[in-house]
């Protein structure tokens, strides 16, 4: 089913009112205290006080209703529709099933049929939806910052194209971000053929350059090496966050979870060894985590190579602890042989990474637990040096026209490139992107592009399968597709995005009206994975271990939420509590507690971090389990033109250099004396002895007999069918936050801004608690997603004086927002503190486009109302109605909560606990199953599966 070009039909009246009221973009995000409409407030007060017995919501007795002029095919009012498409991240396609209501995209879900994601998503993909409605998007073309129309742009382009035609494109440069799109690739080739002297450059802040370089060192050509974590029984990661944020997270987490799941039931092993300077999601779930400075990590790789008799590797001398860890790791590798994988972080020295590749070859991993393919990202002609070449040429005045697509070097490139100055040397500068960002500010022309949800296009998923991108909604603004803009640069204004896309796939899919095309589009992707490339026997190159550097080593990593800064305008991601720190709306200088103690610093104290002449200032965060000689910084902050992400945090670009973008040795840290306010959602993480998260040995895995019902004065809950329940497997949860964002998108959870979060008023219905246990220098890490427990004997229900917190027959603690008067007793009584309160009016002043992103099946909560997770009640009701209309029971897995759906590791399972066949019952039957705060006797419907204890000799 091709997407009919819907128009944005506001759901009757509401959006019109919104438009009238449209105030700031995300007022809540700035001052929490949204400009509540006093007039309405008084009206409500008046109405309700005067008309006792009325619910006080009869504003307009007969609001307008706007029917369609002609109803689009298949539209049923109030019924959502799903379309298979994709959103791009880091150049890769993230295949999604996009839900629309009356033509408004309201939710992105993983594409179940797609082998890479298997229906799961990460936080970035969930938040991509809000990117479409981002009020800071540029709404029309601009010339030197002044809004203009496409006519002017076209004129300028055609004139310029004529000049370039004459000059065979001499001096024309195209700069893009990472591209996997076959169509864009094709068009760029065409452009280069037309203008032989033109050149194409690529700038992607977070890239695989060093990885590919390592592959070239090893195999003689750049190959993309990926672990097959569903096969790998032993995985050794050296500061390589395989399960961490990034385009690969979903597919690799899925694969790892598959292996882990098999291991849980005794099929094969699942050993994860991690050596890293600072805790990563991978390190947190690894059974053998070793804290090592970057230099030590390198040494360990060499040592491992030596231990496995890889040629050219000379075993360095290791401290006993590391030697012991290495011994275990090597033993495990020998055990698993080909079913093992050794990975080194993509930002490490290529020589070291190359060594890891050779270890893998030696183990015979390729073809089993690792695969090598040609890179999916289209390699720029100059490879890794592509961008520096461009800058050099620009400086030398060899660049006449520069067109920048989806890249923001002015912000994201290390300062010493001097991008701004270099750009000044270019005669005509054109910027095409979603936002008028820092780079656009240095360009003559800004051409706004279509968001992935409103454009035609294609891109490769991480497994190389091409995804077809189709529009779910007609563009809101005067924007153009990237492919079209590429044509425009050449003075061609005839092409349309769909046509250009069709042309790319003509040979494979034929005519766009044809069956093949329509099936492919309905399916959302074309099932041709990247062919695995044969790996030649590696070249031997001796590796010398670098001497341990003095001073601190600074590692720069992408931010787990706003990535390289390109997502900084997204309030969902800004307010997403980062793993381990639970920080929002900020980046920090992460150091070891020991170091903080030595310098007498506490969290939030601003320090000055200097490397040679370059330096920056930022608040510190003492991270348990971090190497004392390492400092971690994240990208993505200190942006100067980025909507809500503007002037938040500090820019790490000040420290990075073209030569050393990721790792800087010999850094010096000094206190500045003043402190900054940080907004963390969790103030305490020390588990010290509490049993909130439990661990169990795999040996006692046999299902436990159901305990006899303990005597109780209270009547048992009615056991009519269905009865909803949930389990969260703490052995599978990697704390990736996908569930949190999914919940936020599904349930219209408001964004409240840094000030309110700092006050402890964040609104996430589902939070991921992070705990550390043991010595702060080298603790064990635990993640625990905490939704509402849906207690069978819920204190909140007894507390509410007005019946706003009630128990439904199918076992939910429903919260009736419109009945709530905000006594907050329910929250006081809640032992899990999962309830969230609307301290201010967080919603009514949102911009109209932001309102359009909301899920119409969920009430938008008013000021002074308590809210909380309700197992996605709206989905349950919808499923119930479908089942009833079809006169059948609700099938297991038919109703899935947003968090469950998003979870890349299947840690969350939801279902009917009276259905003996259901997955949730199977999980609850396991010996690992336990209830949080059992002693409070609230009989939670949400239970947890204990994390598995590491077994002697791995496991």
């Amino acid at each position: 089913m091709a997407a009919p070009p819907h128009t944005l039909i506001p759901s009757a009246g509401a959006e019109a009112r919104a438009a009238r009221r449209a105030a700031a973009e995300f007022p809540a995000a700035f001052d929490g205290l949204s400009r509540a409409d006093r007039r309405d407030l008084l009206k409500v007060m008046g109405a309700s006080l005067a008309l006792a017995g009325l619910t006080g919501c009869h504003h307009d007795p007969a609001p307008d209703a706007l029917p369609y002029v002609r109803t689009p095919d298949g539209i049923v009012l109030g019924r959502s529709r799903a379309y298979a498409t994709a959103v791009t991240f880091g150049g890769y396609a993230q295949p999604v099933l996009a839900t629309t209501h009356e033509g408004r995209p309201t939710k992105l879900e993983g594409l179940p049929e797609h082998p890479a994601s298997q229906g799961a998503t990460d936080a970035f993909t969930q938040a991509a939806l809000l990117g479409l409605y981002d009020p800071s998007r540029s709404k029309g073309p601009a010339r030197v910052g002044q809004p203009t129309d496409w006519g002017a742009f076209d004129a300028a382009m055609s004139a310029n194209a004529a000049r370039l035609d004459a000059a065979k494109g001499a001096g024309f440069r195209l700069l893009t971000g990472a591209i996997t799109s076959p169509t864009l690739g094709r068009l760029i080739e065409a452009l280069l053929q037309r203008w032989p002297l033109a050149r194409w450059h690529v700038f992607e802040a977070v890239n695989d350059d060093l990885k590919l370089q390592a592959a070239r060192l090893t195999f003689g050509r750049p190959l993309m090496v990926r672990p097959q974590l569903d096969v790998a029984e032993t995985v050794i990661t050296f500061d390589d966050d395989l399960l961490g944020p990034g385009p690969l997270q979903t597919s690799q987490a899925r694969a790892w979870a598959a292996r882990r799941g098999a291991y849980q039931v005794g099929k094969g092993g699942s050993d994860l060894f991690t050596a890293e300077p600072s805790p990563s999601l991978t390190g947190a779930v690894s059974q053998n985590r070793l804290i090592a400075s970057p230099a030590e990590v390198d040494a360990l790789v060499v040592a491992l190579a030596a231990a496995l008799a890889v040629e050219g590797a000379v075993a360095p001398l290791l401290p006993p602890a590391q030697a012991c860890w290495l011994g275990l790791a090597a033993a495990a590798l020998r055990r698993s042989g080909a079913a093992s994988y050794v990975g080194v972080g993509a930002f490490h020295d290529p020589a070291i990474q190359a060594l890891a590749l050779r270890i893998n070859t030696r183990l015979g991993t390729f073809g089993h637990a690792a695969s090598a393919t040609e890179p999916l990202i289209k390699p720029a002609p100059d490879g890794a040096g592509s961008f520096s070449t461009l800058i050099a040429d620009a400086r030398a005045g060899r660049v006449d026209t520069l067109a920048i697509f989806d890249a923001n070097p002015a912000y994201a490139a290390p300062r010493d490139f001097g991008v701004a100055d270099a750009l000044k040397q270019v005669r005509l500068r054109i910027h095409a992107g979603l936002h008028e960002d820092e780079t656009a500010a240095h360009c003559h022309w800004h051409a706004p592009v279509e968001h992935d949800l409103e454009t035609w296009g294609d891109a490769l998923a991480v497994d190389g399968r091409p995804s077809l991108i189709q529009p779910l909604v007609r563009p809101f603004y005067a924007v153009r597709a990237r492919s079209v803009l590429l044509q425009n640069l050449q003075g061609d204004f005839t092409g349309d995005a769909r046509g250009l896309l069709a042309q790319t796939w003509k040979n494979q899919l034929g005519d766009p009206q044809g069956a093949a095309w329509r099936t492919a589009q309905a399916r959302g992707f074309i099932d041709t994975p990247a062919a695995s490339a044969p790996v030649s026997t590696p070249a031997v190159s001796p590796v010398a271990t670098a001497p341990r550097p003095g001073g601190l080593t600074v590692l720069i990593k992408p931010d787990p939420a706003v990535w390289d800064g390109s997502l900084a305008t997204n309030p969902w991601l800004q307010e997403l509590p980062r793993p381990f720190t639970s920080l929002t709306w900020d980046n920090v200088v992460t150091i070891a507690p020991a170091l903080a103690a030595r310098l007498g610093l506490k969290n939030g104290d601003v320090v000055r971090l200097a490397v040679g002449v370059r330096s920056l200032e930022g608040p510190i965060w003492a991270m348990a389990g971090q190497d004392p000689s390492t400092v971690i910084l994240t990208l993505g902050y200190g942006r100067t033109a980025a909507g809500v992400g503007q002037n938040v945090g500090f820019d790490t670009g000040a420290l990075r250099t073209a030569a050393k973008p990721w790792r800087l040795d010999g850094a010096v840290l000094t206190a500045t004396g003043h402190a900054a306010a940080l907004a963390a959602t969790q103030d305490f993480t020390a588990l010290d002895g509490f049993d909130f998260v439990r661990t169990a040995a795999r040996t006692d895995m046999q299902p436990k007999p159901s305990p006899p019902p303990e005597p109780s004065f209270y009547p048992r809950q009615p056991q009519s069918r269905p009865q909803w329940g949930m389990t969260v497997d703490l052995d599978l949860c990697i704390g990736c936050n996908a569930c949190v964002t999914a919940c936020q998108a599904e349930n219209n959870v408001p964004v409240v801004g840094k000030a309110q979060v700092a006050k402890g008023r964040h609104m996430h219905w589902l939070r991921v608690d992070h705990y550390v246990e043991g010595d702060a220098a080298a603790p064990a890490f635990f993640n625990q997603p905490v939704p509402c427990m849906q207690c069978e004997q819920a204190p909140c229900e007894m507390a509410c004086p007005v019946n706003a917190s009630v128990h439904t027959d199918d076992g939910l603690n429903a919260q009736v927002y419109n009945r709530c008067i905000g006594t907050r007793t329910c929250s006081s009584y809640c032992p899990y503190k999962v309830r969230r309160f609307n301290w201010f009016d967080f919603t009514s002043a949102d911009a109209p486009e932001v309102r359009a992103a909301r899920n119409p099946d969920v009430t938008v909560r008013a000021r002074g109302v308590m809210e909380k997770c309700n197992y996605c009640l709206q989905r349950i009701v919808a499923g119930k109605i479908d089942a009833q209309v079809a006169d059948r029971d609700i099938a297991d897995g038919e109703v899935r909560t947003a968090c469950q759906q998003a979870c890349p590791t299947n840690a969350i399972v939801f279902g009917d606990i009276t259905d003996a066949e259901s997955q949730v019952v199977a999980r609850k039957a396991q010996a690992r199953n336990y209830a949080l705060l059992e002693e409070v006797n609230t009989r939670p419907r949400t239970t947890y599966l204990a994390r598995l204890k590491p077994e002697p000799g791995g496991g």
Partner: protein
């Protein structure tokens, strides 16, 4: 000591006390009464529309089935207000030049939707699903009244929460044969003895359980 009050003062005092009592009582009664009045609920107040569409004429006299225009009623939560195209299916043949239909023709020509004013509007936090009600045999007339007798549509019932609960707490009397949901006149129904047990039978057939029907989460989320 001089007299301050006249002898009648005592009477007056008692009177005032009584009066105050009744004013308070009356005030309470008045407010609760007002809340239930058709003034507050708009029950029975015809609403002017840009196009004075007569359900009496179309549904009553011409006997057009509700579902001809309200197509989504059997497959979605909203019955749906018909698109301009639906009006024009007939009015491109009949009354083609009628001035009162000008807005409809304009809408078709300009592509701008007709603007209707809602008659049966529920608050935003109430999620009512037409599909399941129709599917279970709750006839339109139960909530919307005798649309076939309304020249200009009006709200036949107050549509307050107690109105919904009245049915959800005791569904049986309101259930009718699923194949006759659009039937308007049910006056004769209860006369037939066989029909008295009909509702109960339907409840058994559809496993309708009033306990479940009064779950708050059913309509509020």
């Amino acid at each position: 000591m001089t007299q301050i009050f006249r002898p009648s003062a005592d009477i007056w005092l008692r009177l005032t006390v009584v009066l105050v009592f009744f004013i308070v009582l009356g005030g309470g009664l008045f407010i609760t009464g007002l809340a239930r009045s058709s003034y507050a609920t708009r029950q029975g107040w015809p609403i002017d529309q840009t196009v004075p569409f007569s359900h009496k004429h179309h549904a009553g006299d011409l006997g057009i089935d509700c579902r001809y225009c309200h197509v989504d009623v059997e497959r979605g939560p909203f019955a749906g207000i018909p698109p301009t195209y639906t009006c024009m299916t007939c009015h491109s043949q009949v009354w083609t030049g009628a001035p009162m239909l000008a807005p409809v023709r304009d809408s078709l020509a300009s592509g701008q939707p007709l603007v209707w004013r809602r008659v049966a509007k529920l608050p935003g936090y109430v999620y009512f699903d037409h599909q399941i009600h129709v599917d279970r045999g709750v006839p339109c007339v139960e909530c919307h009244g005798r649309m076939d007798e309304m020249p200009l549509a009006y709200r036949a019932n107050a549509l307050e929460m107690r109105f919904c609960l009245g049915c959800h707490r005791d569904p049986a009397p309101h259930l009718k044969p699923t194949d006759q949901v659009t039937r308007m006149d049910w006056s004769g129904w209860d006369k037939v003895p066989a029909h008295l047990a009909f509702g109960q039978a339907e409840m058994r057939r559809f496993h309708i359980d009033p306990v479940k029907l009064t779950d708050c989460g059913l309509c509020h989320r």
